[in-house]
Every structure is written in C-alpha cells, then in structure tokens.
C-alpha cells in the first residue's frame, strides 16, 4: 500500500506476556464471577484487561493477567469451585494496543481484516477511551506489528513497541 493510502495512527504498544482466562457462569444469577474477581484482588493480582457478556450461551467473563500468575489463578479457580468445563486458559497472550481509534469503525475493521487474512488469532479485544486493546499470540506480536505497518502509518519518532519500564502496585 502506498504511504498516502495508509491509515495514520499515533502508536502501537505491546504488553508483557499474559494469560487469558475465560470463565462461564454456572447459572445466570450465580455470583461465582464476582467472588473470583474478589479472590484475585485479595492475592494482589492485577487484571490488565477484562470483557464480559451475558449474550453468550452462559454469561462469560474474559480477563488477562501476567503469565507468572498462572499457578495462582489455577489455585483461585479451584478455591472458587469452578469445574474444569467452566473455564479455559490461553497461555502466552499479548495485548496489542493501537491508538487513537477516534471512535471510527474504519481502523477496527482494517485490523480485524488483517488478522483474519494473516491467520493471527484474535482472542478478545475492547476499545478504551482512545485505544483498541487486542489480545493475540504473544510470540507473534513483532510479526503482527510488521504486517500492520503495511496498512498503518506510524509517526517517524515512534517509541519502541515494548515499554522500557513497568508499573507495579505493591499494596492497596
């Protein structure tokens, strides 16, 4: 694609390596997801992404935490009495953040089209006030960014995709 045909965006950012957890409610008025979120908070585990819907066959909540928390999450799911068939964990997930979306479907459609055409997995995504946060295969992030730059134009002085620092909350 010619430079002047590309969609101009402000930037792309990669997350650390994450896991994505999908939990399904056992029944529509079941409180297990609220309990689960509470147990995760009690263990000081940060949820960097979450989406939730009651329009699936059983209401589902999808969230991402750092990959180092895998064992802790398994223990919490056990403590919250989630049977195996009510949750699913995807390992090695990366959040790709693109901004700004300007509340326009064009950028979103372009990204979904590219992911579909290149067979990059889309595990989940959500828009925020200005960005699109999309969860995909962590190991493919560099390759995805390269492909995205065939249709998107980044500023010349773009910062590295990976953050050079991390913010961690130690105590509430």
């Amino acid at each position: 694609m010619e430079k002047d045909q590309k969609v101009r965006i402000g930037g792309i950012k990669f997350s650390e390596e994450l896991i994505q957890v999908t939990v399904a409610k056992k029944s529509p008025d079941d409180l297990s997801i609220c309990r689960l979120l509470h147990l995760i908070a009690e263990k000081n585990i940060n949820i960097s992404f979450l989406c939730h819907s009651v329009f699936t066959r059983t209401p589902e909540t999808i969230f991402c935490v750092e990959s180092s928390e895998l064992d802790a999450i398994r223990n919490i799911l056990k403590a919250a009495a989630f049977p195996d068939e009510h949750f699913d964990i995807i390992r090695s997930v990366g959040t790709l953040t693109l901004f700004p979306h300007r509340n326009e479907l064009k950028l979103l459609g372009l990204i979904i089209d590219l992911f579909g055409a290149c067979n990059f997995p889309v595990y989940s995504f959500s828009t925020s006030i200005s960005a699109i946060a999309l969860n995909t295969d962590f190991l493919s992030l560099d390759n995805i960014a390269k492909k995205l730059q065939t249709v998107l134009l980044l500023p010349d002085n773009h910062a590295p995709f990976r953050q050079g620092f991390r913010v961690t909350q130690i105590q509430m």
């Binding site: 459609g109 889309v122 925020s128």
Partner: protein
Amino acid sequence: METIAVYREEQVKVYGITEKADFALAILHFPGTSMALWGRRIMSLEQSLNRFELVTCHTGNSRAVELHILFDPKYADTLRNTVNALIKEEKNTAFTLKQPVDVLFLFGPHFQDRYGIVDIAFNALRKNDVEILVSGCAGTSMYFVTSKNEGRKGFHILADTFLIPTRI
C-alpha cells in the same frame, strides 16, 4: 532501576464517571473463519453507523466470535437492515439488536496496572442488583452496559464507591 512511590488512597480515585442513556447495542455472532470478511464489513458499516461508543469482542472455545458495538440508536434501523441483508444466507451467524441500553464509563489513574479496581466496580454493582450486560475494561477505561434505567442507579452506586474529584 526501580523507583518506589508511596501513595495511599482510602477510596479509589477516578478521573470521572459518566452515565449515558439510550444507546443501541449490536450483538453479532459469526464463525472465526469469517474474521477477514467481517473486518471488511465492519469498515463498510462506518458509513451507516457513524461513530461507536464501545466495541468489545471475544472468541469462544468453538472459535465462534461474539462482537458488541454500542452506538447511537438513531442509526439502529440502518444497521439492522444492512447487517440482516449481509447475513441472510450465512450459517452460524446471528445478529441481535438490544435497545435502549445505558452505559457507565469511568477512567482512572493507572487502572491497567493496579489490582482490585474491577473487583470493586463489579461487586458494587452486583451487590445492588445492577446487571452488567456487557463490559469492556482496557487501559485506564471501564465501561459497563446496563439495561435501560439501570444506568442512573449504577451511576450513583459507582459515585459512592469511587472518589470523583469532579462529577461529569
């Protein structure tokens, strides 16, 4: 190099909470194999939908995709007609429109890096019987889509739960 900053807040501070009423929520189910096709369709929907308020999406175990678009209801008829015409003969594809719905939006400092924020919001709404139909929490933003008339109640609950320097 590690920098430690100490900051204590008795009540989680947010930059703002907004309640917006009367939105339309499009719920689309399609097979994961149609991802590229739907990408192109979504681009073309821009003309009939104008701007979105929120979009969330997830892929289930069977590679079925569920996509939600929250938008201005004045474009609902156009969107319904356009999408229904597109999916007329497609298998494993469904389109539902729910309206009117309300949306609560809040954003705060470093929400994506702090634990317990989503727990506080979810549990406050759940305890007061506000059902969250769809939620999208990413970056510093949290969106909660509720049924019509639940938004006002949800707003008051969140406003009591979080500390807002200025109410919007």
